[in-house]
């Protein structure tokens, strides 16, 4: 890039051509005051505070928008400049309250700061002042437009950063104000309450409700950590005072999210300080129907140790099962699987990945030899084509959705969305394929068929990097577009268009999630997607790949740590004698050599009486597993159940002993996000009550069972992980500050891996798998005429254990809803808000109807967030034969309007 040299305040500098004066000055360490300018966004030149003198220019110029030219001479701190800035401040203050002493923003307010720096304490302009009512209508933040300086930052953030377009400057002149359409409350607009407006407001016009009157800015301690909700792993900062989290912000320098958050990350943190938190261990007295009483740690751990020992001695180690938690840290997952294998002596260890991406682990493992997002989040914005299938991205991975929107709006990427539901991403799509639920294999095979028959595939890549092409060709030859149209309902033309767009784009990226994996054909779906990417050479390069979007904050890490019945840490096979030998030597104990039971199998075996004792950490299977009546039956059938959690979850209510763990804010550790990035989680507050960090609980219990685990802290546990797990070989805490590390990272010199499979696949060649379409396990019939699909909404998280304890999230989305297509609603004679009963072969629930064309005709949608209307009482527990993942996305139900 061409360089320009200029002089600012007597300093000679050289900067990139095209830079503005403000940017050039900043680079040289000269700060120019500004109120409306936001880095990396187009300037609006509204506040006039950044004016500077340019030699030869008649007037002062706005430095935020004035580009540098060669030999320009700029002065940023002359008396003339100061006078102009003071005038601008006085004009702003002429309609601004002087109530800094009670303003939440005081101490972090730009207006206050510049007024202080320029000595402006009053205004000469005494005139009319606004007296707007304070808007408290939404549950997340307060809007006080008397303090608004109309800089327009919130509007820019809403439109250009989050692409939400809920607010704009409205009305005219003195009455100009930021408003949603028709001056209605934000709930009635497109607002998603991401809080980006609050984050950029330079004054006190927008304030988080939870922080009001809880502390002044200068009293808050900031702790950099990672968001505890989804797998995106956004970088956040907790503001803490007196062991309470007061607010959450996100630094613009954050490597994953660049300061962008969603509503859960920004406002959903108050569960941490909820009065419902478990504060002491609980022991059930008086048999299975008895009550809980509080107990000391010593007593509770003794009971757990002796019962587990007893069951192991009487019925053997494989009568015990352990579930770890994708909410807990890597170190804790590592310890608990070690506890299962080395202390209890069983490979019966699994976790909720079985319910979300087990088919990714098997499918991508078969095709490439390693199962994780092939590419990085930050690469999505540079893709030429993005194919989203089975991912409601904007609700479930909101910040990744922003990358996609960025690619579409700024990068001109073509977006293809395949989803039975009219999800929000459809609004951004060039092409929407509305396939019938469960027909994904046919759809993808159809695309593969078109690409092969029209010779659009990457022959060179296929020849050099893959095997099995001839079998694939044979396997998909029947899937011509008209046949596929019959199965999927997607018009043949659209299918061809999708195939051509995807194949012709130099860099095409596939994003998928549970719409692909949670089927009896989950593994097949994943293999079909792998075929598509292998065929077009969209692997091993930037901004392409096959990208499973992982659900939980640390589900990637829990898998990496070997919280799986067939893998030791780092996907090293349990059945491999050499691998086992290394772990046996390190852990100084013989290890079981056969794969253990998967999550659903554990429950079924509990029901059958084969599993007698279970240790569940940070999971709530009663709400999250399919066919939950059967899960409850299984859990009740256990001789001994111990649950380690932060709340008395539905599952904990069935336990014999409950151990209070801590939230992400009360411990140190690491999470691995969906793009394989290992990031530091930092302790911000002391454990609530007598609760203890989960890694501490596990080590103490192990010691009681005769296998001492003495770790000074999580950092030492990570050193042990690194020594045994090649893909984490170079991961040490001293290397994790700032950007973290993306695995594979094999040693201390390794900087980590941004995208996988560059020169070779872990299995050598990428393998094509010819896959045939098979029908879902339960299809609608006369008695149960609707398809029920389940999933999540933006405002809640899984079983609701944490999100429903956030006042804001519960306030905006308080109860369960059933999405019903308008035409179906008409036939059922039900309207929006009516109570309906949803009945399947396994159970029934009652919830409010939400009539919307988001659901196609014949399909209803429910979330599993609400225990009062638990969707998983309805779902079917048929499993994918390879991955053992249940079919959450399809079962058949009837809908009855409640009278």
């Amino acid at each position: 890039m061409a360089r320009v040299s200029l002089t600012i305040d007597g300093n000679r500098l050289e900067v990139d051509a095209g830079a503005t004066i403000l940017q050039a000055a900043k680079g040289a360490g000269i700060e120019i005051p500004h109120l409306c300018y936001l880095e990396s966004l187009p300037p609006s030149s509204a506040c006039r505070l950044c004016v500077v003198e340019v030699e030869g220019a008649r007037n002062l110029v706005a430095s935020c928008s004035y580009p540098v030219v060669t030999d320009m001479v700029v002065r940023t701190n002359t008396e003339r400049v100061a006078k102009a800035r003071r005038l601008a401040l006085e004009l702003l203050l002429s309609d601004h309250p002087f109530d800094c002493m009670t303003c939440e923003k005081s101490g972090a307010c730009d207006l206050e700061r510049y007024a202080y720096e320029l000595g402006v304490s009053t205004t000469r302009f005494q005139g009319e002042k606004h007296a707007y009512p304070i808007d408290e209508t939404n549950p997340f933040f307060v809007r006080d437009y008397n303090k608004c300086i109309l800089c327009g930052r919130c509007v820019t953030a809403c439109n250009e950063v989050q692409f939400v377009e809920a607010i704009d400057l409205t009305h005219r002149g003195f009455n100009t104000r930021v408003a949603a359409p028709f001056d209605r409350p934000l709930q009635e607009s497109t607002c998603i309450f991401c809080g980006q407006c609050v984050a950029v407001c330079p004054v006190g016009a927008l304030t988080e409700k939870l922080r009001r009157f809880k502390g002044r800015e200068w009293e808050l301690r900031k702790v950099a950590t990672v968001c505890p909700y989804c797998g995106v792993g956004c970088n956040i900062e907790l503001s803490v005072k007196d062991d309470r989290i007061i607010k959450v912000t996100s630094p613009a320098t954050g490597v994953v999210n660049e300061g962008r958050l969603c509503v859960k990350g920004k406002f959903g943190f108050d569960y941490v300080n909820s009065p419902d938190r478990l504060t002491t261990p609980l022991i059930r007295e008086g048999g299975k129907d008895g009550r809980f009483r509080e107990a000391s740690w010593e007593e509770a751990l003794d009971v757990v140790a002796s019962r587990l020992r007893q069951i192991k001695e009487e019925s053997g180690p494989d009568s015990l099962a352990v579930t770890t938690s994708a909410k807990c840290t890597n170190e804790e997952n590592y310890l608990l699987q070690k506890f299962a294998r080395a202390v209890l002596g069983t490979n019966n260890v699994d976790h909720c990945a079985r319910l979300c991406h087990a088919s990714t682990v098997t499918g991508l493992g078969m095709a490439f030899g390693s199962a994780a997002m092939t590419n990085s989040i930050g690469e999505i914005r540079y893709a030429d084509c993005i194919f989203i299938i089975g991912s409601n991205t904007s609700e479930n991975h909101p910040v990744i959705a922003l990358e996609v929107k960025e690619a579409v709006r700024r990068g001109g990427a073509k977006l293809i969305v395949a989803d039975p539901r009219k999800i929000e991403m459809v609004e951004f799509a060039d092409l929407w394929l509305r396939q019938k639920p469960g027909t994904d294999v046919a759809l993808i095979n159809g695309m593969v068929n078109v690409i092969i028959s029209e010779n659009l595939y990457d022959a060179e890549f296929v020849q050099r990097r893959t095997e099995g092409f001839e079998q694939l060709k044979e396997g998909i030859k029947d899937y011509h577009p008209s046949y596929v149209a019959q199965i999927t309902g997607v018009p043949a033309d659209d299918l061809c268009k999708a195939a051509r767009t995807y194949a012709r784009s130099p860099r095409a990226s596939i994003l998928y999630a549970m719409g692909i994996t949670q089927h009896v054909a989950g593994t097949d779906n994943v293999l079909a997607l792998a075929n598509l990417a292998l065929l077009t050479g969209n692997l091993g390069k930037e901004s392409s790949g096959v990208n499973p979007l992982r659900g939980q904050n640390n589900v990637q890490g829990a898998c990496d740590m070997g919280a799986l019945p067939n893998f030791l840490p780092g996907y090293q096979l349990v059945v491999d004698k050499d691998v086992r030998g290394r772990f046996e030597e390190a852990w100084q104990t013989p290890l079981p050599d056969q794969p253990g039971l998967t999550l659903m199998e554990m429950m079924h075996e509990a029901e059958a009486g084969e599993i007698k004792g279970m240790y569940i950490m940070g999971e709530d299977p009663v709400l999250s597993h399919p066919n939950s009546a059967r899960v409850v039956k299984g859990l009740k059938n256990l001789d001994f159940l111990v649950v380690q959690d932060i709340f008395l979850s539905e599952t904990a209510k069935l336990a014999d002993v409950v151990l209070p763990g801590v939230s992400f804010a009360e411990k140190d550790g690491t999470f691995t996000n969906t793009e394989r990035r290992i990031q530091r989680v930092r302790k911000a507050i002391e454990p609530i009550g007598e609760s203890r960090a989960d890694w501490l609980i596990i080590s103490e219990l192990a010691s009681k069972l005769g296998h001492p685990m003495r770790y000074e802290g999580p950092e030492v546990i990570m050193d042990e992980i690194a020594s045994l797990t090649p893909i984490y070989g170079g991961v040490h805490y001293d290397r994790l500050n700032g950007r973290g590390l993306q695995w594979p990272c094999r040693d201390r010199q390794d900087l980590g891996t941004r995208y996988l499979h560059k020169d070779q696949f872990p299995r050598g060649l990428g393998k094509f798998h010819p896959i045939g379409y098979q029908e879902p396990s339960e299809l609608p019939d006369d008695e149960y005429p609707f398809i029920l699909s389940t999933g999540r909404v933006l405002f809640h998280w899984h079983g609701g254990t944490i999100s429903r304890r956030s006042t804001g999230l519960t306030g905006i989305y308080p109860e369960a809803k059933v999405e019903i297509n308008p035409q179906d609603a008409e036939v059922l004679r039900c309207s929006d808000g009516d109570l309906v009963q949803v009945v399947s072969r396994r159970g029934k629930v009652i919830a409010k109807a939400m009539v919307t064309d988001r659901s196609p005709q014949g399909v209803v949608f429910m979330t599993f967030h609400f225990r009062e209307a638990a969707a998983n009482l309805l779902t079917v527990d048929t499993l994918d034969p390879v991955a053992k993942i249940p079919e959450f996305k399809i079962c058949s139900v009837q809908i009855n309007k409640c009278s």
Partner: protein, 153 residues
């Protein structure tokens, strides 16, 4: 906000302007011409077809004095309150109109017959006080004179 707006007229307007975002003001002007004002449903439909955010459309509509979000009377009465008209008695002319129609400036009669507005200057100071009825100028108005004109409407 009126319900059951006939959107087919709007469809023609949008077709003419090919739903292009650069044509927003022209679209709004023609829509207002057709509907008399800009009902919420019309704006929502413009948003759907042009993909211009509703917030931006609302910003534009509220910025320009020419756009109305509430129904207008069949007749528009504009009373000039410019300096020249003021010193020649525009105040009493305005008061008479308000009394006669039973509304104050900026309002519309319940039967949607009249909307009353004031303007700062019409550039016809020599004729002041000036009243404009449905685009027709009436000069040298008096309290009595304006009643006659209103009755004639």
């Amino acid at each position: 906000m009126a319900e059951n707006v006939d959107l087919s007229i709007l469809a023609q307007i949008l077709e003419k302007y090919e739903s292009q975002s650069g044509n927003l003001i022209a679209i709004l002007q023609e829509a207002q011409e057709a509907y008399g004002y800009l009902p919420g449903e019309v704006l929502t439909h413009i948003r759907r077809e042009t993909k211009i955010p509703l917030s931006r459309i609302y910003g534009v509509v509220t910025f320009y004095a020419q756009f109305y979000l509430t129904p207008r009377g069949r007749n528009t009465v504009r009373v000039c309150r410019g300096t020249a008209c003021h010193v020649r008695g525009a105040k009493s002319v305005l008061r008479t109109v308000e009394h006669f129609l039973g509304i104050t400036e900026g309002e519309t009669t319940a039967d949607y017959e009249f909307t009353l507005e004031t303007v700062a200057c019409l550039g016809a100071c020599a004729m002041g006080p000036v009243v404009v009825m449905n685009g027709r100028y009436f000069g040298k108005m008096t309290a009595a004179g304006v009643e006659t004109v209103l009755t004639a409407l």
